[in-house]
C-alpha cells in the first residue's frame, strides 16, 4: 500500500489530457491539506490521519491470501447414492497483516484440450460433467487470521450414471473493488474426479491419428533445437473410465529392421473418457535414406487393459538424410540429469520422511523415465516413489518424491539403498543405451 494509486489514463496531448492530469493533482492537493494545514485544521489532521491509516490498514488487511488443499481428489459413489468430499481452506496470514480473507467457492466445469491445457467455465459443456451433482456446504467464506475451515462437499450420482465424471471447485480470493488500473483476481482450482462404480471397468485406449513430421531446417535453430523427426499420436479414450497412458514409436527400416525408438510424451497423461490427448515423440538422431515404418504402441497403467497400436510409413530421400546427418551433432554428455546426487535421511521408527529428486531431460529428444529401488539393506516396502514412471519432453524436468515410512518395529541403525533412474531416450539403435543413474540413499533410523 506504499504506492500512490493512480489510474490508467490515456491523455491526449491536448486539453483533455491536462484535465485528466488536473484531476490527479486535485487529489494530491486535498491530501496535503489533511496532513499539513494550519491551526485547527492541523488538530483535526491528526485523528483524520489516524482514521486514514486505519482505513488503509483495513484495506490491506482485507487482501490476505488463502491456502487450498487438496488440488485433486477422487470420489467413488454408487449409482443413486451420495458421497462426501472435503476441501481445507486456510488463512495463514503469512504477510502478518492480521487481515481477514474472503473467498468465494463455486463448482465449475473444466475441460482438458488435446495438448493437455485446462480450461474452466462453460457449464455442462461436455456430457460427463459432474457440476449438477455437486454441492458445497458453503460458497462464501470469511476467514480470520490463522483460521482453518474444512468445507464439506457432496456428490449425488443419478441412477443412470456410470463411469467417470469430473468438475472442479474454484476458489476465488476476493479483494476490495477497484475501478482503475489493472485488477488482478487470483483463483485456485481443485479437481474432483467422480467414479460411479456400477461394475469393473476396463480402459479402452485407441489411436485416432498418427502423424510423422519430417525434419525441418531453420537457420535460427540452436544446438538444442536442431532438426528432428516428430511423431504426433492422438490417443482417444473410448471407454467409461479415465486411464493414464504411455507409449513409444518404434521405427523400422525397410519394413523389418528396428532402427530407432521414440518415447512419447504428453503434458497430461491421464485421458478422460471421450477425450483425445496428443502424445509427441521427438527423434533428434539422423536417419539414413530409406523407407520406414513407425509403429506406435500405447499402453495404460490399468492391469489387463488392451494396448493400442497404429502404424504410419514415411520415406527419407537421400537429400533429406544427408542434410539431417550434416546438422546432427550427438550430445556430448548424458541427457539425463538427476539432483541431488545423494539422499541422506533420518527418521524414528513409526515416522515418515522423504525428499524430492529432480529429474531433467537436457537433450533435444523425448525421454521415458522409470524409477525403482536398487540394492541395499533398506526394505523396499518402506519406500514409495511418486511417480515411478513418466515421460519428459526436450529440456523438461520433473520432481520425483521419494517417501519413506519407517515401521514401528524397525531396528535402529543405518540403512542403505539406491534410487535407480533409468531413461529411454529417443535415439537410433546404434547409439546404444546407457545404464540407470544411481542415487545412493542413506537412512538413519534413530532409537
Amino acid at each position: 500500500m506504499g504506492r500512490a494509486v493512480r489510474g490508467t489514463h490515456l491523455s491526449a496531448p491536448n486539453m483533455t489530457g491536462s484535465m485528466v492530469r488536473g484531476a490527479t493533482r486535485t487529489r494530491a492537493v486535498a491530501a496535503a491539506a489533511c496532513v499539513g494545514g494550519s491551526g485547527s485544521s492541523r488538530r483535526l489532521a491528526s485523528p483524520l490521519l489516524g482514521a486514514l491509516t486505519l482505513l488503509l490498514a483495513v484495506g490491506a488487511a482485507a487482501e490476505a491470501g488463502v491456502a487450498l488443499s487438496p488440488l485433486q481428489q477422487e470420489v467413488s459413489v454408487s449409482p443413486g447414492r451420495q458421497a462426501e468430499f472435503a476441501l481445507t481452506i486456510t488463512n495463514l496470514d503469512r504477510s502478518h497483516t492480521g487481515g481477514r480473507a474472503r473467498v468465494r467457492l463455486e463448482v465449475v466445469d473444466f475441460a482438458v484440450s488435446a495438448e493437455g491445457a485446462l480450461s474452466f467455465g462453460e457449464p455442462c459443456a461436455h456430457p460427463r460433467s459432474a457440476v449438477q451433482w455437486m454441492s458445497l456446504e458453503a460458497t462464501a467464506l470469511t476467514l480470520e487470521p490463522g483460521q482453518v475451515r474444512r468445507v464439506q462437499g457432496t456428490v449425488k450420482a443419478p441412477y443412470r450414471a456410470e463411469g467417470d465424471y469430473w468438475a472442479a471447485v474454484m476458489m476465488t480470493i476476493l479483494g476490495p473493488p477497484r475501478s482503475e488500473g489493472v485488477n488482478v483476481v487470483l483463483r485456485t482450482a481443485s479437481a474432483v474426479f467422480v467414479r460411479v462404480a456400477r461394475r469393473t471397468y476396463q480402459a479402452r485406449p485407441s489411436v485416432r491419428d498418427l502423424q510423422v513430421l519430417l525434419p525441418e531446417f531453420n537457420p535460427g535453430q540452436g544446438p538444442d533445437a536442431g532438426p528432428a523427426l516428430t511423431i504426433r499420436v492422438d490417443v482417444a479414450n473410448e471407454g467409461l473410465v479415465a486411464f493414464t497412458a504411455s507409449g513409444e514409436g518404434v521405427v523400422y527400416r525397410d519394413g523389418r529392421r528396428r532402427t530407432a525408438t521414440i518415447p512419447l510424451h504428453a503434458r497430461r497423461r491421464r485421458v478422460l473418457p471421450g477425450d483425445t490427448r496428443r502424445f509427441v515423440g521427438v527423434l533428434p538422431s539422423a536417419l539414413p535414406e530409406g523407407d520406414y515404418t513407425v509403429r506406435c504402441r500405447i499402453r495404460t497403467a490399468s492391469e489387463g487393459a488392451p494396448r493400442a497400436f497404429h502404424e504410419a510409413e514415411f520415406h527419407m530421400t537421400p537429400e533429406l538424410a544427408a542434410r539431417w546427418a550434416d546438422h546432427y551433432r550427438r550430445s556430448p554428455g548424458p541427457s539425463l540429469a538427476v539432483e541431488p546426487a545423494e539422499l541422506v535421511l533420518e527418521a524414528a521408527p513409526g515416522r515418515f520422511t522423504g525428499q524430492a529428486v529432480q529429474v531433467a531431460n537436457l537433450g533435444p529428444g523425448t525421454m521415458a523415465v522409470q524409477c525403482s529401488m536398487g540394492e541395499g539393506n533398506l526394505p523396499s516396502d518402506w519406500v514409495e516413489l511418486r511417480p515411478d514412471e513418466f515421460s519428459l519432453g526436450p529440456q523438461m524436468r520433473r520432481s520425483v518424491v521419494c517417501q519413506l515410512r519407517v515401521p514401528l518395529e524397525a531396528e535402529p541403525g543405518e540403512y542403505t539403498a539406491a534410487l535407480l533412474i533409468e531413461a529411454q531416450q529417443a535415439q537410433v539403435v546404434e547409439e546404444g543405451t546407457s545404464g540407470p543413474q544411481r542415487v545412493p540413499l542413506r537412512l538413519k533410523v534413530a532409537k
Binding site: 496531448p13 487438496p70 486456510t90 489493472v182 488482478v184 485456485t188 482450482a189 497423461r269 491421464r270 514401528l408
Partner: protein, 177 residues
C-alpha cells in the same frame, strides 16, 4: 468329602496366587504409538496482487508498462493460466480499448528454485492460453510471480482520452498426471 474340600481349596489358592500379579498394580511399561501423516498437495497465494497502475499515455506512439508481484506457496508442480476474454483488455470511455499485453516472470527457474520460464509479452487474448508450468524444486516452497502489463494505442489510431481499466484473472491449478 473333607479331602475334596481340601483339593478345591488348594486349587483355588493356586489360581489366586497365579493371577495375583495380573490383578495387582501393573508394572510401568513403555507405551508406543505410531504417528503417520501424509502431506496433501497445497497451494497458497500469500496475498492478493496490488492493482497495477500505469502511467498516463501522452502521445500516439507512447507505450506504458508496470508490474506487481505476489508469492505462491506450493509443495508440487503448478499450472498457471490467465483470462483471455475482453475483461483482461484495458477498456475506457465509450468502450474504447488499448492494446493490452501481459508478461509473466518468476523468481526461480524451476531448476534450483521453484519457478518456471518467463512468458514474454503476449496479447491479452492469447496470454497463457497454453499454461505456464511452475516446477517445484525440493526445499523451496515459494515462488514470486510478477505480472507485467503494457498498454499502447492501436497502430495508427488514438484512443479516447480518459481512464482505462481491466481485470486479469490468474488461475493456479494442479499439474498432471
Amino acid at each position: 468329602m473333607g479331602q475334596r474340600i481340601l483339593r478345591v481349596f488348594a486349587v483355588s489358592a493356586f489360581v489366586l496366587l497365579a493371577i495375583r500379579p495380573v490383578m495387582g498394580q501393573p508394572a510401568d511399561d513403555d507405551a508406543s504409538c505410531a504417528i503417520g501423516v501424509t502431506v496433501a498437495d497445497v497451494m497458497e497465494w500469500e496475498s492478493n496482487f496490488t492493482p497495477i497502475t500505469l502511467a498516463d499515455i501522452t502521445s500516439q506512439a507512447a507505450t506504458v508498462s508496470d508490474s506487481e508481484s505476489a508469492t505462491l506457496y506450493t509443495n508440487g508442480d503448478v499450472d498457471v493460466t490467465a483470462d483471455n476474454t475482453t475483461a483482461a483488455q484495458l477498456t475506457g470511455p465509450d468502450s474504447d480499448v488499448l492494446v493490452t499485453e501481459y508478461r509473466l516472470t518468476y523468481d526461480g527457474d524451476g531448476v534450483t528454485d521453484t519457478g518456471g520460464s518467463t512468458v514474454d509479452w503476449t496479447a491479452y487474448d492469447s496470454f497463457l492460453s497454453s499454461a505456464s508450468s511452475i516446477t517445484h524444486a525440493s526445499g523451496d516452497g515459494a515462488v514470486v510471480i510478477t505480472l507485467n502489463v503494457r498498454a499502447s494505442n492501436p497502430t495508427g489510431e488514438m484512443s479516447n482520452a480518459g481512464a482505462y481499466s481491466a481485470t486479469q484473472t490468474l488461475t493456479a491449478s494442479w499439474a498432471g498426471p
